[in-house]
Amino acid sequence: MPSNLEQLHQDVLNALETVKDPEIDSVSVGDLGMIEDVSIVDNKAFIKVLPTFMGCPALEIIQQNIEKAVGNVEGIDETTVEFIHHPPWTSDRVSKEGRERLKEFGIAPPPEKWNPDGKYEIECPYCTSLYTTVDNIFGPTACRSILYCKSCKNPFEAMKPVFTDM
């Protein structure tokens, strides 16, 4: 049987699962690999979060949503969210689950590895074709690019690859 603290920890993790990216509402911040550390001391939760991109305007909303969700967990009196950039968020932190959820939203997940020559293939999230072109590396949010599928003729978005050796 889990101890009370283990149970509380699990409850907090479950609560974090309900916090979605405000700009991609099918994916949780956990799926995106943004949660670096969760610790609980004396009914106080400390959560370390990695921003995807530094200028992301959704950070403040994410912080409030985490505070709200974790604040509702029975046994948690106080929640502190800290944004850190070490380790840096990289796009390979998106979970397997997260990759699937991104596709549901019409966003191709980032490549799992980085080629030193900067070339990568992107699969259309609608028809899985690789016959796609990048319309704009930059998109509606800092972490996304705009693409076009030449097979099914749908425009779509893709999460930008971000790796430390770029």
């Binding site: 991109f53 530094m54 305007p57 930059f138 509606p140 800092a142």
Partner: protein, 280 residues
């Protein structure tokens, strides 16, 4: 060349604050990095809705948003070192206390974004390309900074910077390979940026100490990297390399600035000044 920097790593702001000389030298560089990004992101934001086409409007805004985020990291590092609230550092410091290079504060062209903006796209491309390349070279060097929080920030920022350099490099090369009109405008812009660009590659009066303390590599090393990269680009495009860089209108690193900066500060702090304690 001394390698003293490898000996000491400063892990926290608290540690840096205990060494007066180290802190003074470190903050000097942080103000340069922060103010450079801040003012160029502001100039970029004035282009919103005015870029040559819709996709560029999306891309340029995204780059400016990233760059403003980078300035925020540096201002936060300064806040951690006891320099004051990061929002105040960004908004409230007078021009004379700003350390950005002068070419980065220059207006985008004649008119302003509200009335008759006759902005110069060639100037935007050249200024951003030259600056973003210089910034990437500095970031690579900062990854091994003796100030660990700055080294960590550099790793993070560098990943975003990759896309910025790629973007401006594409514009730069394409416009200089386009028709005669494009080439002429681009060369005029190159000349305009060149005579003041040395200041971007300068680390100011404490350059020597910055290298000695291992906060960043020597100014001359960084500058040479930029120059050799640029020489290769000019050669590829079959254009004559313009020669010596200048700092014609003064040294922004010691607070020398033009009225362009005063005007920009007046505009950008207008909203913040109405209520400095609210959460925007």
């Amino acid at each position: 060349m001394g390698r003293r920097w490898q000996e000491v790593i400063i892990k926290t702001a608290e540690e840096a604050k205990q060494n007066k000389d180290y802190k003074a030298t470190l903050t000097e560089l942080l103000y340069q990095l922060a103010d450079d990004d801040f003012i160029l992101a502001y100039r970029g934001s004035e282009w919103l809705g005015l870029a040559p086409h819709i996709e560029e409007d999306v891309a340029f805004s995204s780059i400016n948003q990233d760059t403003m985020g980078h300035a925020t990291i540096y201002y936060n590092l300064l806040e951690d070192l006891g320099e004051g609230k990061s929002d105040d550092l960004a908004h409230m410091r007078p021009a004379a206390e700003r350390q950005n290079a002068i070419i980065l504060e220059e207006v985008n062209g004649t008119g302003d974004y509200l009335t008759e903006p006759r902005y110069d796209w060639a100037f935007a491309v050249v200024r951003n390309y030259f600056y973003d390349l210089a910034k990437k070279i500095k970031l690579e060097a900062l990854k091994t900074s003796s100030y660990e929080p700055l080294a960590h920030a550099a790793v993070k920022i560098n990943m975003e910077q990759y896309y910025h350099v790629m973007h401006w490099s594409t514009w730069f090369k394409q416009l200089l390979s386009a028709n005669e009109d494009a080439k002429k405008r681009m060369m005029t812009a190159v000349e305009k940026v060149w005579i003041d660009f040395d200041n971007v590659l300068s680390f100011g009066p404490k350059a020597k100490e910055l290298a000695e303390l291992g906060i960043i590599e020597a100014e001359e090393t960084i500058k040479q990297r930029w120059i050799s990269h640029m020489k290769a680009v000019f050669e590829e495009l079959e254009i004559d390399y313009p020669g010596e860089l200048g700092s014609k209108r003064g040294n922004g690193r010691i607070g020398e600035h033009t009225t362009d900066l005063d005007e920009a500060l007046k505009t950008l702090r207008e909203v913040y000044e109405t209520d400095t304690v609210t959460a925007w």
